[in-house]
Point group: C2
Chain length 252, copies 2
């Protein structure tokens, strides 16, 4: 989900700097960064209330220092916003912003998927199918958080195979930007209107059809974002200021 050393920490099941994780010591900064990324992508942090350095630090059991660096890193990728007075908050979604996000996703993600295609072997394809099955279950049970996590895993399960150093971080950055917004919308409309568009992609991968995969990914993006786009109309400032009664931490 994150960057560089982060992927190592994903692999390590042991909580922290214990031996056996390949000898690499994971810094608290990266751990905090990954954690906040998760909260953003699964929608545990939603627009509305602000987040505070010391608050996050206390919740994560570290000093404000690593949190500060992780926050600024997120702010650099537009996943968080630092207001004129220095306050940290999740940026509100605007129509223009949303339109740009869709445009970038459609431009970049099919391209990266096509690059990844030759590197997706049989076991990887099976893993993707398993994830997709999980997505169907999440849609049936209406588990939004689980759906978002699995949908993320599906897409990046494909993209990650490309071993990309440039495109992949860019796309990760984009996902961090619409994750919180996606969660608020889905949380309001439920999962009933959502359709799983991943079969076409899986078929194209099985056949090694690059153009088909690109088209499937683009279709999946456009279809999923169309639902979100409908939600943005008429609620131009539901998520702008702190007048909403949703809290930053939606799970409490």
């Amino acid at each position: 989900m994150a960057r560089q050393a982060a992927r190592e920490s994903d692999r390590a099941e042991t909580p922290a700097g214990s031996a056996g994780n390949g000898g690499r010591r994971v810094s608290a900064r990266d751990r905090v960064f990954d954690e906040i990324c998760q909260w953003l992508l699964t929608g545990r942090i939603v627009p509305g209330r602000g987040v505070s350095l010391r608050g996050l630090a206390a919740e994560l059991g570290v000093s404000p220092m690593p949190v500060r660096e992780a926050i600024h890193r997120l702010a650099a990728e537009q996943a968080l916003e630092i207001g004129p007075t220095g306050r940290i908050h999740v940026p509100a979604m605007s129509a223009a912003r949303f339109e740009e996000i869709v445009k970038v996703r459609v431009l970049l993600e099919p391209e990266l998927a096509a690059m990844a295609l030759p590197h997706i072997d049989k076991p990887a394809l099976q893993a993707l199918k398993a994830i997709d099955a999980g997505i169907d279950r999440s849609l049936e049970t209406g588990d939004v958080e689980s759906y978002m996590r699995l949908n993320h895993d599906f897409h990046f399960g494909i993209y990650g195979a490309a071993r990309s150093e440039v495109l992949l971080p860019l796309i990760e950055s984009i996902w961090l930007q619409f994750g919180p917004f996606m969660r608020t919308v889905y949380g309001r409309m439920g999962t009933s209107h959502m359709v799983d568009q991943h079969e076409r992609a899986l078929d194209a991968i099985a056949k090694g059809d690059a153009e088909g995969l690109k088209s499937a990914i683009a279709g999946d993006i456009l279809d999923g974002m169309r639902l979100l786009g409908l939600a943005i109309v008429g609620e131009t400032d539901t998520a702008t200021a702190g007048n909403s009664n949703v809290t930053a931490f939606d799970k409490s």
Copy 2:
């Protein structure tokens, strides 16, 4: 060149937190970030030697703290790399990386230019022409650093008019990644082989021709990067390790 508050600081001619810059106080972190960005984009920092936190801090006259945050921000955008042991260095360019960069640039930059086109008024067009004239002078005199700065100003003079919140930061991030590499190559080959391809873009802007502008930008990118691409062949590890005799600070 940078993000958010950075643009405010660009406008303020007064060096630091003096009154009259709109009342906004610029943080040392953003100032340091902008400075290092400049060094990266104009090639003052080149691959080869590493850079150190305390060294930069001393050079910039601040404590290591703001530098640390700026560095990590740059590392998050792949403009700098943090090695397994935590050492900071400019990442080496690889063929695969370079290919991805070109692909992303061709996908995104023409798109953003087309978005910007309706917002470029007469004075802005005149400013672009002035920059282009400066580029021609730099090519004649062989001033690589000046050329790189003006070329950057030309492109972002166009892109900036789009008021983009998503595409623009992405493209800025990409430029930071190939800036240092560009400088090393140009420093070696000189400016004699370079051709100014900006006239087509200026014509398209004057005529309000979106497709023409997209094509001109794409052509400019491909042409400029083709030269760089030629340089990458056969020097696969000239810039990888510290075996080169170029220093990180090329101006000393």
